[in-house]
Each structure stands twice: as structure tokens, then as C-alpha cells.
Amino acid sequence: MQCLSNDGTEVGRHTETTPGRNEVELNGQPPTARPPQVLTDSEEDEDEELTLKYGAKHVIMLFIPVTLCMVVVVATIKSVSFYTQKDGQQLIYTPFREDTETVGQRALNSMLNAAIMISVIVVMTLVLVVLYKYRCYKVIQGWLFFSNLLLLFFFSFIYLGEVFKTYNVAMDYFTLAVIIWNFGVVGMICIHWKGPLRLQQAYLIMISALMALVFIKYLPEWTAWLILAAISVYDLLAVLCPKGPLRILVETAQERNEPIFPALIYSSTMVWLFNMADSAEPRNNSSHPVPQQENQDAVAPTAQPEDDGGFTPAWVNQQQHQLGPMQSTEDSRREIQELPSARPPPVEDEEERGVKLGLGDFIFYSMLVGKASATASGDWNTTIACFVAILIGLCLTLLLLAIFKKALPALPISITFGLVFYFATDNLVRPFMDQLAVHQFYI
């Protein structure tokens, strides 16, 4: 159904944050009756402190998966040559070729490619917004399910094949079928149903890495860098502008007071939604919207309206990835959400909210670092520089999140730093180091 449709990669990212207890209502939501909250100054200070402390903890919690994803991508790029070979095949979203005669032609082609890709992404975001607004949840869920299916089975099949070829290992179809079948099915169960958190996180990291590898292989050079830059700009606009699609999505979700449909977001902890009958403040954190709420047998299906600042819509943008070699496009969407837990656990029964980062962020970060390791002349220098740049950007983004307490895009700062560091290291630092080495001058 989605094969051969012209879906594109859509990326939107923003981070949602929960307003603190003493904050104004979220956009678009009329102030509801709040339980009387008496906060003294010292309590507010404590709150701030706790906010920052938990913010710092969450930064660290996000470092690890982002690093892991990048490590997987870089390791694969370095060892499996398949992903750096340009077979001449490109995704259908980037029809213009870059092996042209003049530099000007190449620049033009890559700009056109990037423009096409970005517009596809914009269209997909808008489609998502429309679907969400008109409550076509089933469509979105089915879409996500299908794209995960594709990633977990087809792409990992290719990946495994290439790894075996690289290490010259014989593999028979029977064992291969067992491996792929197990990997895929358990992955679908963990991501879309219930499973141990660590395993789910591991799977999300793996599929992000797979996606990033696909991008690295099938996007030509200049197009890839242009797309990275353009995506960051789009992310910024879509999340922060009042009419941005992602912002509309967030506001709609907030108006409806409902958790977002199955989002593919990486979360560091799980969150409980409590409805306390005689408690003044219902504490609601929906960090993981449940994919199929109707399947929760032992769970009360009623969603209580969340009327205080504890409400955190899990928000994610979806990203679609396309299937280049098959000449058919199947898209998957990744929704991203970044949600810092700005509150300390108030009562003993509540889980601490975890931080969530969207999968699209993982994918683009890893893609940047992967490309740096694949094509940079400075090689490891450049790779490590980009890695550090992205982590710094992530820190800054989370810091801003803690300060502003509203939806923020996760891409722009990191990608900007990453790009700057890449080009600077490649073109300035590396020749410098080479010259120093030539002249045996150690600094």
C-alpha cells in the first residue's frame, strides 16, 4: 500500500518539556482549575535546583544511547565496505546525479536534491498533522508498524548479509532465517507492545543506526550535507514558529489532553500515569503513549484529564525513510520527542520521568558522524571532533530546554556544531597536523 507511493522523509523534531508547577498554562489550553498551591520562595529555589540536577542527570542518560548509536554506525562504516561503496544507486527522492562535469552543475544538482527531499519531508509532516487532527490514529499506527517491520526485517537482513561477506563467513539460509525472524519479531514486540526497557532501547538504537547507514550509502556527498543543514533549519522553523506543523501538532495534543499515538522515541525511563482519587494533583506523565491502548487488558482504559503542569505530551515527529534499491518507496516515520523530566518525583509512588529523544535525532546525528568517518580526509580527527560537537550541542539543547520549558528542536544546535567542526577540522586542522608531522614539530 505504501510501496510505490511517493512518500518522503519527514523530519520534525522538537522537545517538549513539562512546565513546572509554578508556570503558566501551556499554549492553547485554557487554565483549568488548579489545586491551591502554596509555594514559598525557598520551595521555588529548591525546585529550580532539583530541576537542574535532574536535567544534568538526563543529559548523561542521553549521552549513552547517542554515543552507542554513533559507535555502531562508525564501526560498521569502518569495517563493512558496502556502506561506503557508491553503487550508483540513489534514492528516488534524490534523482539528480552528482557525477557531473562542472562544479556549478554539481552544486545545482545537489541543491535540487536537497530541495526535493526537504519538500517531501514537509509534505509528510503536514500529512501527519492532518491525520492527527482528524483522529486517524489507526493510519498512523499502521504506518509506524509497517515501517518498523521494514527496518527490522529487510534492512537488518541486508546488513547481516554484508557483515558476513566482510568477515568471509559461510551462512546457510536456515540459520539466517532463524536469526532474522527472531531479531525482527522480538523487536516488534519490544517496540510496539511490552518488553524490557533495556531491550527496547537497544532495538531503537539499532534501527536508528540502520537508517543512518542507509542514508550514508544512498545519499550523494553534497546532497547529504545540504540535507543535514536544511533539516536543521526546517526543524527550527517547524517547532518554533507559531504556524509550524509540529507546533500545531503539539498544541492539538495538549488540547485533547491525550498521549500521542505510538511514538518512536527513545526513553530512558518509563512513566506511570496515576489517577489519585483524593489527591489534589494528579500527576500525569505520558512519556510513552501506549500503542494500542485497547490491548491493555488489565489496565483501566479511561484517560483522566491532566490538569496540572505535570502533563507532558509525548511528542514526536515521524520520519520516513525510503527504500532506494527496490525502486519502491516505503516510508517509516519516526517521531521524536525530547522530554526532560523537570520535576522531582513528588510522591513515593511516582516514577521519575525520563528523558526522551526522538529517533530522527539519533539518525541524523549518527549520519553526520558516519559521513565524517567515511569521507573525511582527516579521518579519526574529524570523526571525533564531530562526535564531541554533537554531544556539546545536545547538552546545550537540554540546557535550553530546562530554561525555557517549552518545545525545542533537538537538531539545529548539534548539527550546526557538527557541520562547522567537520568542515573546519577537515580543511584547517588536518593540514595543520600534517604539516606539523612532516616537520616533526610536536605541540
Binding site: N168, Y173, N182, V185, V186, L197, A298, Q304
Partner: protein, 113 residues
């Protein structure tokens, strides 16, 4: 404070938080699912519910959870044995089988007879 209703959204990280019947149901589903050629699912079942089944103080459903974990472990061991045997046979005799060996192979290593 009274919990009138609790519902968790999303995947389970912390088995502490869900009621025992849920745990049992989850364990049972993972066990039954493993019969669809999914030894990995049995492995996950064993690792995930090991603490629940053996290292926790007794509760009503624990006995059943224990039995499911044991059965999953058993199934897992059987699968591992079968797979190991098959892989050993295949790797050892692949070259000798000639055409059949090639037909069965997904990847064929280069440079060996």
C-alpha cells in the same frame, strides 16, 4: 493516598510496578510466543522474569511464573542444542556437499575450497 486507577503507558521497564496478574499474563504470553520458532523470546523471558521467579519473596502467582520460566529455559536449551548441531554440521561439511552446500548457503566465503 488512594490509587483509584493506575495505568501505565508504554512499555514495561520496571516489573515492580505492575500487578502480579499482569506479570503472570506477560510471562505466559512470552512463553507461548516462543513456540513460533522464537528461542530469543524464551531467552528474554528467562532473563526478564528470573528475578521475579526465583529471587523474590513468594506471592501467589510466583509458582506459575516459575514454571513458565523453567519451561522457557528448557525450550531455549533445546533450540540452542539443535542450532549448534546444525551449524557445526553445516560449517564442517559445506565444502564437501558441493552443489547442495552452495544451494543452502547465503554467503559463500571466498578463497576456500
Amino acid at each position: 493516598m488512594d490509587l483509584s486507577s493506575v495505568f501505565f503507558i508504554g512499555n514495561i521497564m520496571n516489573l515492580e510496578r505492575i500487578p502480579n496478574e499482569e506479570k503472570l499474563s506477560l510471562c505466559r504470553r512470552y512463553y507461548l510466543g516462543g513456540f513460533a520458532f522464537l528461542p530469543f523470546l524464551w531467552l528474554v523471558n528467562v532473563l526478564w522474569f528470573f528475578r521475579e521467579a526465583f529471587l523474590k519473596p513468594t506471592y501467589t502467582e510466583q509458582l506459575q511464573i516459575k514454571s513458565y520460566v523453567k519451561k522457557s529455559a528448557l525450550g531455549l536449551i533445546v533450540w540452542v542444542a539443535v542450532l549448534t548441531t546444525w551449524i557445526t554440521i553445516f560449517q564442517h561439511f559445506r565444502a564437501q556437499w558441493g552443489e547442495v552446500g552452495d544451494y543452502l548457503s547465503f554467503t559463500i566465503p571466498l578463497g576456500t575450497a
